[in-house]
């Protein structure tokens, strides 16, 4: 049974929290809880907290989804963010989790939900939201980064992917759009176009690289634990490449992948 103490404290805190998080400001009971001061009414005192609550979380959302905010424009992004924060108020001790369900929320509340014809721009926004949240997770994921990067002298048999390595397939050029925003190129909204990219982390810095479908397939095999030779064989088979020609292609890929810092030397007995 809660004591009277907890009940009183809980009543006050329940009341204040409900005022902070509700979309409309209800000042009805303010005078029962808050004092006026010499300069401000009780209601204005309370409004300071209410204003800060939403402004702080909007800022965090904008920070976590900066490319999406650019794509939607300030007003539309804020509208979606506000709706999201109301539907999914934070329950975590860390703000890094704030946007965890944002992409799912955009899917659940997509404006074309009731119509037979789907708006394609919404799919792009959802993919972009998912991608940006993934970047924040990958940036801080746990991994042993004490590795030796591959170089030109590393044999194919010793090549492995680095520990923090992720592959993405999108129905829009999401990675390109994201990089354009980050590099302040002010991109236009893209048309539908299947795209592939890698997100890797070496020395605690993220690398984003657009790749082609065959590279995606090959790297997927490597990621799943197959050797370079096995991955090459399967790629040749899948895409109908000429095995001899593909050897030249592989040498170019290998050089580019090593330059992108996502191949390491397999340590003996460690894998």
């Amino acid at each position: 049974m809660p004591t009277d103490t907890q009940k009183n404290l809980a009543q006050i805190q329940n009341w204040m929290q409900s005022v902070l998080v509700s979309p409309e400001f209800d000042s009805a009971n303010t005078a029962d809880f808050v004092n006026d001061s010499s300069r401000l009414s009780a209601e204005r005192h309370l409004r300071i907290y209410r204003q800060s609550y939403i402004a702080r979380l909007r800022d965090c959302m904008k920070n976590q989804f900066s490319a999406l905010a650019f794509a939607l424009g300030e007003d539309l992004f804020q509208m979606f963010a506000d709706q999201y924060l109301e539907a999914y108020p934070s329950g975590s001790y860390t703000l890094n989790d704030l946007g965890k369900n944002f992409a799912a929320h955009l899917q659940e509340t997509r404006p074309d939900a009731g119509s037979a014809e789907k708006e394609s721009w919404i799919d792009f926004m959802i993919e972009l939201a998912n991608f940006e949240y993934s970047l924040s997770i990958i940036f801080d994921e746990h991994a042993d980064e004490k590795i030796v990067l591959a170089d030109d002298s590393t044999t194919d048999e010793s090549l492995k992917l680095i520990p923090v390595f992720h592959l993405f397939r999108h129905t829009y050029p999401v990675c390109r759009y994201y990089l354009d925003v980050v590099n302040k190129n002010e991109p236009e909204l893209p048309f539908e176009e299947t795209s592939f990219c890698t997100v890797s982390r070496y020395n605690f810095r993220l690398n984003l690289l657009e790749i082609n479908p065959a590279q995606y397939f090959f790297l997927e095999k490597l990621r799943d634990g197959e050797s370079v030779a096995e991955a090459k064989d399967q790629t040749v088979y899948k895409f109908g490449f000429d095995a001899k020609d593909f050897e030249n292609v592989w040498q170019m890929w290998r050089k580019n992948f090593i330059a992108a810092d996502f191949l390491r030397v397999e340590s003996v007995g460690a894998d």
């Binding site: 907890q6 805190q13 703000l95 940036f139």
Partner: protein
């Protein structure tokens, strides 16, 4: 650093001198230039879950500098129970970096499992004092060390409050053995917003329990002041600091700057201004009203708690 056992009593805490908040913007500056800063205060939540660059940088900085862990999510004043998943992560981080002490705020951040990510004000009553002390005891037992609690900036006073904040803090320390982090700027902000005498507040604290002080900038919005941590320390706050320095016999000092964060040299220079105010005790009772800020600020800005991934990209 060698593992050390935390002191069992706050009066045995060391005095590390003049410190700065560790912010990601300054990571490279600190690692490359190894500035002569006495100690760094980290935001615990920024590092508790990190397996990437923030934790890596912290490990390297903790090898060279003394570190204090400062949290924003303990929510010691919430009617909710303590979150032991959170406390376990806090304890694990402390075991790894060996902080001089762990601090948080006399506040609540949410109830019924929600987190507003704001440092919300307590109703200061006998009942809430008992509740807070019980939770402090539980947290200190779990962590195996005394905790330190900061007076938050407040923007309202509850009708139900019956105890002055300085008395509430004193009673808390007497009951639990916890220490106080005196945020001088917060005293000024709260005194302006809630009509009390800031000097009287500081004079009536238990000075021997004050482990650390905070300094920060704020924004004057005309008829209220917001604790924005986005500017230089205001003259009125320096004056109060002078008083607090004298009364605490020179507790450890930390300058916070969490929004519009300047270059490291500017930040460090502002901290060192504290030395100009250590022995001076100017007239402190009649503060001039601040010049009004152009824009409304956000209290306790926490945007620095979310990593700007684009800043961490290789391009």
């Amino acid at each position: 650093m060698n593992k050390k056992t935390s002191p069992e009593c706050v009066k045995d805490f060391p005095n590390p001198g003049f410190g700065l908040g560790l912010r990601s913007k300054h990571f490279n500056d600190i690692l490359e230039n190894k500035p002569e800063v006495d100690w760094f205060e980290i935001i615990s939540e920024n590092f508790m879950d990190s397996g990437g660059r923030p934790k890596n940088v912290l490990r390297r900085i903790a090898e060279r500098y003394k570190v204090v862990m400062h949290g924003v999510s303990l929510s010691i004043g919430s009617a909710d129970d303590l979150n032991f998943e959170y406390l376990t992560k806090l304890k694990n981080l402390a075991a790894e970096i060996n902080p001089l002490w762990i601090s948080d705020h006399l506040c609540w951040t949410g109830i019924n499992g929600l987190n507003s990510h704001d440092l919300l004000p307590m109703p200061l009553t006998e009942e809430s004092l008992k509740h807070v002390c019980k939770k402090i005891d539980q947290a200190q037992d779990f962590l195996g060390r005394p905790l330190v609690f900061e007076n938050p900036s407040t923007y309202l006073r509850f009708k139900q409050s019956t105890i002055n904040e300085w008395d509430f803090l004193r009673l808390m320390t007497e009951e639990t053995g916890c220490g106080i982090l005196l945020d001088v700027n917060n005293v000024y902000v709260s005194s302006f917003n809630n009509d009390f005498d800031a000097a009287h507040y500081i004079e009536n604290l238990p000075h021997e329990k004050i482990v650390q002080m905070h300094l920060a900038g704020h924004q004057n919005c005309g008829d209220y002041i917001i604790d924005t941590h986005d500017n230089f320390v205001a003259p009125q706050v320096w004056q109060l600091f002078s008083l607090a320095w004298k009364l605490t016999n020179g507790a450890a000092v930390l300058l916070e700057w969490d929004s519009n964060i300047p270059d490291f040299d500017v930040y460090h220079s502002e901290l060192l201004k504290a030395k100009d105010f250590m022995n001076d005790l100017p007239e402190i009772r009649n503060f001039e009203t601040h010049k009004k800020s152009e824009s409304d600020g956000v209290s306790n800005p926490l945007d620095f708690l979310v990593t700007d991934v684009s800043y961490e990209l290789n391009r």
